[in-house]
């Protein structure tokens, strides 16, 4: 050790090696600091390790303490050691150089300061990462600060005892809190959300397919030129999925016959043990079929690629409706809330009286020998009419009355034989009328139909109908009331469509005659030359169109 003379020392740079740890704290002692660094063994292991990491546990007693990592770095430094030898009491202050100089002749009596560079420091460990929350009592922090400040003065070298006392008081208190699982600051780059779920991808694909490939299938206008084409639904339904089984069953029905009522489809699927929601059935149907918003196949599901307007054989699939006579509507009202509805098959077989005031049927499904014979006779028309399809108006009226006779005959309540007889007589009269009209010369009938077509052109309202699958019975009641109101409106506006005064007067007279609740006036009296029969279905259909518009708005 060289003695400091005039603040100067000399020597040779040492070859002895040392390393330093920039400890992020103020340990109470070196031994405590070594303990938090894993002890001598831990430091030795870190020195030999290739990870260049030194672990620091602020709370070595806590097994769950999160370590801070010190990174090894290269540095250029030396360790300067300053010591004091031969401590003796001296009244003179050491900092006064003049006095020191004058006493140079007595060196063995006075204390001497020695300094020497004792080691070369080539490596250091720095802690740059984040650490657990550290709570230091302010008074201890202040003591540490004071201790540091004294280093700025030479007098601090003489205060060794005080420093040791302060060191003992410098106790660090740590709270056992976990600040962050991350050790070092990290830059994060936000990326676009990636859909990793294959299910979502399938749904998106399905939606796109719907939008692109399916095209319009709901309520297509009857006069449209092109109908929806066949859809290759096998491309986007997994064969092992439940949807596949459903779709196969629905598509098979349209191979059996090209036109179906929704009620009949539901019945057939139930017979096969298949049940699904209303929404799912719509999805399966639109992949295989479409429907018109008006015409003789109103809201019937029609196979994709098949155009009933061009195939005379489609006449057997046309629509037929049954309206409950006014005298019998009480039965429907009383059964409006009846949950046990008759099955569709029983209705088509005329085994039960329907609960609804209005029922739409398909001619093909009606279990009646008379009807089936009539609809299978060779077609007499060469085009499909919006109003009557492939049949003549007289024939449709005849068939409608036949349906009414069959249903009224199974009416469960007694006391309505008069109603039955009245409808029966009307049916027989309509049969005679139809036969007579069929005997007319073809040219005359064409002329009559031309007149009817002109009337149709004046009708700006499109023919629409109620949704066959109304979910709630209360809505049916509302529809009935609305229909009544619409009938009144139509009767007033019918003046605008009257081309022939005789027909208008005769119709109005017939309407007035029906106001009294007389059974004989149920369906109006039909004469051989009377055209009022032709007017009746037009206005009924118009009222349906208005109801349907309101439903569409909802």
């Amino acid at each position: 050790m060289g003695i400091i003379e005039n603040g100067t020392i000399s020597g040779n740079l040492p070859s002895k090696e040392a390393f330093v740890v920039h400890y992020p704290g103020y340990p109470s002692s070196i031994s405590r600091a070594v303990e938090t660094l894993g002890g001598i063994q831990g430091i030795t292991t870190a020195r030999e390790s290739t990870s260049n990491k030194l672990e620091l546990h602020f709370r070595p007693e806590d097994p769950s303490a999160h370590p801070a990592y010190g990174e090894r770095r290269h540095c250029n430094g030396f360790l300067l050691k300053i010591s004091k030898e031969d401590v003796k009491k001296d009244s003179l202050p050491e900092s006064q150089p003049v006095i020191s100089t004058s006493d140079a002749c007595l060196p063995e009596v006075r204390p001497a300061l020695c300094a020497d560079i004792v080691a070369r420091v080539s490596e250091s460990y720095c802690f740059d990462g984040m650490v657990d929350y550290q709570h230091v009592i302010p008074i201890h922090a202040d003591i540490a600060q004071q201790k540091k400040r004294k280093w700025m003065e030479v007098k601090s070298l003489a205060g060794k005892n005080d420093l040791m006392d302060m060191a003992d008081e410098d106790v660090m208190m740590l709270l056992p809190q976990f600040f962050s699982p991350k050790d070092r600051p990290d830059n994060l780059v936000l990326r676009l959300p990636v859909t990793s779920s294959p299910k979502k991808k399938d749904e998106e694909l399905t939606q796109n397919l719907y939008e692109i490939d399916i095209g319009p299938v709901f309520a297509i206008d009857f006069s449209v030129k092109e109908i929806p084409k066949i859809l290759k639904w096998e491309d986007y339904i997994v064969p092992t999925s439940n949807q596949w089984k459903w779709q196969v069953a629905v598509s098979a029905l349209f191979e059996e016959r090209p036109v179906w009522t929704r009620d009949s489809i539901v019945q057939r699927l139930l017979d096969k043990g298949l049940t699904c929601t209303h929404h799912m059935l719509n999805r399966f149907l639109l992949r295989a079929a479409y429907y018109f918003s008006g015409g003789p196949f109103l809201r019937f599901w029609i196979k994709r690629g098949y155009d009933p307007r061009k195939d005379p054989e489609s006449r057997v699939f046309q629509r037929m409706e049954f309206r409950v006579p006014p005298e019998l509507k009480g039965y429907c009202d009383s059964n409006a809330t009846n949950k046990s509805k008759p099955s569709w098959d029983d209705i088509c077989a005329f085994k039960v009286f329907p609960f609804k005031c209005q029922t739409f049927l398909q001619l093909f499904e009606l279990d009646d020998e008379y009807i089936q014979q009539e609809i299978r006779k060779p077609p007499k028309q060469t085009t499909c009419n919006y109003k009557t399809g492939w049949f003549s108006e007289a024939l449709l009226d005849n068939l409608r009355l036949r349906v009414a006779v069959r249903f009224v005959s199974v009416f469960p309540e007694p006391g309505f034989e008069d109603v039955f007889k009245s409808i029966q007589e009307e049916f027989e009269r309509s049969e005679k009328t139809r036969i007579q009209k069929d005997a007319l010369q073809p040219s005359q009938r064409n002329h009559q139909e031309t007149t009817k077509d002109m009337k149709k052109c004046k009708n700006t309202n499109k023919e629409k109908d109620d949704d066959v699958n109304a979910d709630e019975d209360s809505e049916d009641l509302d529809d009935e009331y609305e229909e009544a109101a619409n009938d009144d409106d139509i009767s007033i506006s019918s003046h605008g469509y009257g081309d022939m005064e005789n027909n208008s007067r005769t119709y109005l007279q017939g309407l007035f005659n029906r106001f009294p609740s007389s059974a004989s006036a149920l369906y109006g009296s039909a004469n051989d030359d009377n055209d009022s029969d032709g007017e009746y279905p037009i206005y009924e259909q118009e009222s349906n169109a208005l109801d349907d518009d309101e439903e569409d708005d909802e």
Binding site: N12, H22, Y23, A33, G77, L79, S83, V87
Partner: protein, 107 residues
């Protein structure tokens, strides 16, 4: 014997010069706030005191050599040397300062 340690930081200087090993040095001005370090009679450095962030722990590393067990692999023994809070950071001395200080010392 009372001891205190100070860390001499030459990182700032090592980028410009190479510090040889076992070279003679002279450290003067220890009684001032800016000591001067002269290495090998050529390199003059001026230092200033800096406080450490936290605590600086110094460890010595010695190679254990056991004559009786030559076959054993050599292991280093680590011993804590000091706990210090003072760093003496050196930088290259400017010519003017050097001359100024020399004159002052002469006076």
């Amino acid at each position: 014997m009372e001891e205190e340690f100070v860390m001499i930081d030459l990182d700032e200087v090592s980028r410009h010069i190479e510090i040889p090993s076992d070279a003679p040095y002279t450290l003067s001005g220890l009684d001032t706030l800016n000591p001067v370090l002269t290495i090998d009679g050529k390199i003059k450095l001026v230092g200033e005191y800096i406080e450490t962030i936290g605590t600086c722990l110094a460890f010595s590393e010695k190679e254990e050599v056991s004559a009786s067990e030559n076959q054993m692999p050599h292991k280093k023994i680590i011993e804590p040397v000091a706990k210090l809070h003072k760093i003496l950071k050196f930088r290259l001395a400017a010519l003017d300062n050097d001359d100024g200080e020399t004159k002052t010392n002469n006076l």
